[in-house]
Amino acid sequence: MKFTISKEAFLDAIQQVQHVVSTRTTLAILSNVLLRVRDGSLELTTTDLDVGVSGSVSADVEDAGATTLPARRLATIVRELPAAEVEVSVDEKNVASIRSGPSFFKVNGLSSEEFPPLPKFDGAREFKIDQAVLRDCLRKTSYAISTDETRYVLNGILFSFKNNALTMVATDGRRLAMVEQEIEFPQSHETDFIVPTKAVNELSRLLGDSGTVAIRVTGSQVGFDLEGSFLVSKLIEGNYPNYRQVIPGEAKERIALERETLLRAVSRVSLLASEKSNSVKLQFSPGQVEIVASSPEIGEAREALAINYKGPAITIAFNPEFLMAPLRNLTADEVHLHLIDEISPGVLRTGSNFLYVLMPMRVNS
C-alpha cells in the first residue's frame, strides 16, 4: 500500500476520527486508526466498539491496500511534518514509512484484518435531515443530558420519529430540554431510540452548515451518513421515561425576557451564590424582575431588569447553571418564561419548537 497526500488534508482527516479512540483500551487494535486506500481516496476509521467513525479524503494512490496505525501517534507526527506533501508506504508486515521533505518515520502498525468492522445498516430505516438543522437541535438539547451513570437511559438524547416530526429530548431529572422539527418520512418508519452522549458529541463535531445527513437505524445501532464521513453508534438499551407527562400544561404567567440580557444578569448575580445555596432567586413584580443571590458567609448580589410583567409578585429560585445553559445555547433574541408557582416547574420557550422545563429549588434558609 502506498499513497501521497497533502499534509493539511491528512491531518484534518485524522483529527476528524481520532476523538473516538479511547485512551484506556485493553485492546491494542482500538488505539489504531484503520487506513484504507483505493480509487484515489484514503478512508480512515476508528472505533471503541460503542462508537465508530470513518471519513475519507482524496489522495494520490499508487498501491491500494489497508493497514492500521496508532491513531494519536500518527496525528502528532503528521502535525509536525515539515513539508506540504506526505508519502506513506506500508509493507506486508504493517510497518509504515512516512516521508515528508527531509524527515522519515517508521511506525509499526497492526494488520487491518484485526480491526473490528463497523456494523452494516442493510434494511435499516432511513431518515434525512439538513445537517445544520440537526446540529442546531443537538446544541439546544445536549447540555441537559444526564451524566449520572446510575440512570443510563438518560445518558443520551432521545430521538423520537413520530407524526412526521423528529422530537429530541435530553433530561437529567431536574431539567428537560426538548426540540421538535418537522421532517417527512413514511409512517411505517416511526421509531424511538436513544443516542449515547459520546456519539452526540462526535456528531456535533462532524455536522456542517450545509448538506444533509441520512440517519439509519436498526434495533441496536444507529448510523449517521454525513456525505464524506460516517458515524455509527450503539444505541442505549432501555426505555426513555415518559417525558410528556412532566411538561406542565397550564401556565399562569408568561413572561417575555431578553435572552442575552437575562443570561448576563444571572451570570453576574450567580457569582455570589454559595455552595450550600446554589440558587438565584427571580423576584417578579409589575414591570421588573430582580435577580438575587445571597449567602451568609459571602455576601449578596442583586440586579433588576425592566420587563413587561403585569402579574402578581412571584419569587422563584433556580440553580443558575441550569437557567443559563439553554440561554447560552439558543440564538433567539427573546425567550418566554412560563411560571405557575414557586414550587412548580418553570418552562422556557422560544419559537414553537423549543422548550425547556426547569424544576425550581426550594430555598430553606
Binding site: 426505555n239 415518559n242 417525558y243 424544576m359 429549588m361
Partner: protein, 382 residues
C-alpha cells in the same frame, strides 16, 4: 434475679400535627376535613390529614388524587414546613421545661421523655413500687398536655410506661388527646391483644415469617412454646423479650448521626430477585423515614451483602446532591448490586446504609421532575 432499675418514660405524640396547626391558624377549617399536601388535581401526596379527614379513609402518604376522590369536600392545604418547624420548637421548649435534657425528639411532632429522676424514688425494688412510681407521673403528663393546649392551642397524646417500647404503643393506640398509663404489672396483659406488627422493628418480612409459625398476635408469641429462631433467626431472643414488654433501650440523645442502616438476614439464603428487591424497598423506606424524621439527607449510599460462607462485601456510591427519599435510596442500592454483580450467589444477608449526613435545613433543595422510569426490559415486577 436482679431487676433492672425502674424507669418512667413518656412518649409524646402531637395529634394530626400539621393538620391541627392549620385548623388552629384557620378557625374556619375547624371541624372540617383538612388535608395537608398537594392539591388533589396535582401529582403528589398527602402529608397529614385531620381526624375529620381520616374518617373518609384519607391517610398520610396517600396520593392526593386518591384523597380527593375519598374526600371530595376536603380542605386541601399546601404544607407550611417553616411554621410546623417553629411550632415544633415551641412544643419541645415546653416539654424541656418538664423533662430537662432528657428529651429524645424523634420527629417534628414526637418525642420520648425520661422523667424517672423527677419522681419520688420507689421505696423498694418491687413491681408494686414501680407501679406506684408510674402512677405518680400522671399529673406531670396532664400538666404537659395542658401547657401545650394553653400555650399552643394544640392537643397531644402521651403514653406513660416503664420503657420506650410500651410508651410508644400506649400513645399510638389511644389518640387523639389521650393519656395512657401502662403499669409494670399490667404490661404483659396490655400487649396480648395487639398484632405482632405493633412491636418495635417488626416489619412485613418478620411478620410473614411469624405468621408461618402461627403467630399473629403478641399473645400468640407469648404463648409460643417452641424455638422462634428458625423463623426469625438471631432476633428471636429480643423479640421474645419485647413480647413480654421488656425493653431497656436508653433515650437516644446523641445529635450526631453518622450513618443510618438497615439489614436483613434471610430465613433461607436467596438470590431470588423479587425477594431481594422487596427487601431493598422496605429497607430504603425505613432509612428514608428515619432520615426524614431527623431532617437529614445523605450523600453516600452503601449496600452490604453476606454470602452463605459468611464472606461479607460492601459497595458504595456518593452523589452530588444529598438524598433523602426512599425511591432514590432504593434505586442506587439496586444499581450498586447490579454494577458490582453482587448477587451471583445466594445471599445470607442484605443491607442498605446511608452516610455523609447533611442537615436538610441548611441546604436548598433542587426539586426533581416527576419522571416515571419504565422497568428495564427483561425484569420481572417485584
Amino acid at each position: 434475679m436482679a431487676m433492672p432499675a425502674p424507669r418512667v418514660i413518656f412518649h409524646l405524640d402531637m395529634d394530626a400535627f400539621y393538620a391541627s396547626v392549620e385548623q388552629r391558624d384557620h378557625p374556619e377549617w375547624r371541624g372540617r376535613p383538612v388535608i395537608v399536601g398537594s392539591p388533589p388535581d396535582r401529582r403528589g401526596v398527602v402529608c397529614a390529614a385531620s381526624y375529620e379527614a381520616r374518617k373518609f379513609g384519607v391517610r398520610s402518604a396517600m396520593p392526593s388524587v386518591t384523597a380527593g376522590r375519598l374526600c371530595p369536600d376536603g380542605v386541601f392545604v399546601r404544607p407550611r414546613m417553616d411554621v410546623y418547624r417553629d411550632e415544633s420548637k415551641e412544643i419541645m421548649r415546653i416539654v424541656a421545661g418538664f423533662a430537662g435534657e432528657l428529651v429524645q425528639q424523634v420527629s417534628v411532632d414526637e418525642a420520648y421523655l425520661e422523667v424517672t429522676d423527677r419522681l419520688p424514688r420507689a421505696a423498694e425494688d418491687t413491681v408494686a413500687a414501680h407501679d406506684a412510681m408510674l402512677a405518680s407521673a400522671v399529673p406531670m403528663a396532664e400538666e404537659i398536655k395542658a401547657a401545650i393546649r394553653k400555650e399552643r392551642g394544640l392537643t397531644a397524646t402521651i403514653g406513660i410506661a416503664p420503657n420506650k417500647l410500651l410508651a410508644k404503643i400506649a400513645s399510638s393506640n389511644f389518640k387523639p388527646d389521650g393519656l395512657t398509663l401502662v403499669l409494670e404489672s399490667e404490661k404483659v396483659r396490655f400487649l396480648r391483644p395487639l398484632p405482632v406488627g405493633a412491636l418495635h422493628g417488626v416489619g412485613k418480612v418478620t411478620e410473614q415469617a411469624l405468621h408461618k409459625a402461627g403467630i399473629y398476635s403478641v399473645a400468640d408469641m407469648q404463648d409460643f412454646e417452641g424455638d422462634l429462631r428458625p423463623y426469625v433467626g438471631s432476633w428471636a431472643e429480643d423479640l421474645r423479650k419485647m413480647a413480654f414488654g421488656d425493653d431497656d433501650r436508653p433515650l437516644d440523645l446523641g445529635d450526631d448521626i453518622k450513618c443510618i442502616s438497615s439489614e436483613n438476614t434471610f430465613l433461607k439464603d436467596t438470590a431470588h430477585r423479587p425477594t431481594l428487591r422487596q427487601c431493598l424497598r422496605e429497607q430504603a423506606d425505613e432509612i428514608a423515614g428515619r432520615l426524614q424524621k431527623r431532617r437529614l439527607a445523605a450523600r453516600t449510599v452503601q449496600v452490604k451483602v453476606r454470602y452463605s460462607d459468611f464472606t461479607t462485601l460492601t459497595r458504595q456510591i456518593s452523589v452530588e446532591e444529598p438524598l433523602a427519599d426512599s425511591a432514590m435510596i432504593y434505586r442506587l442500592s439496586c444499581w450498586l448490586l447490579a454494577r458490582h454483580e453482587l448477587v451471583k450467589r445466594p445471599l445470607r444477608l442484605l443491607g442498605v446504609g446511608v452516610s455523609g449526613m447533611v442537615d436538610v435545613v441548611t441546604w436548598d433543595t433542587q426539586l426533581v421532575l416527576p419522571l416515571e422510569f419504565p422497568r428495564p426490559p427483561g425484569t420481572a415486577p417485584a
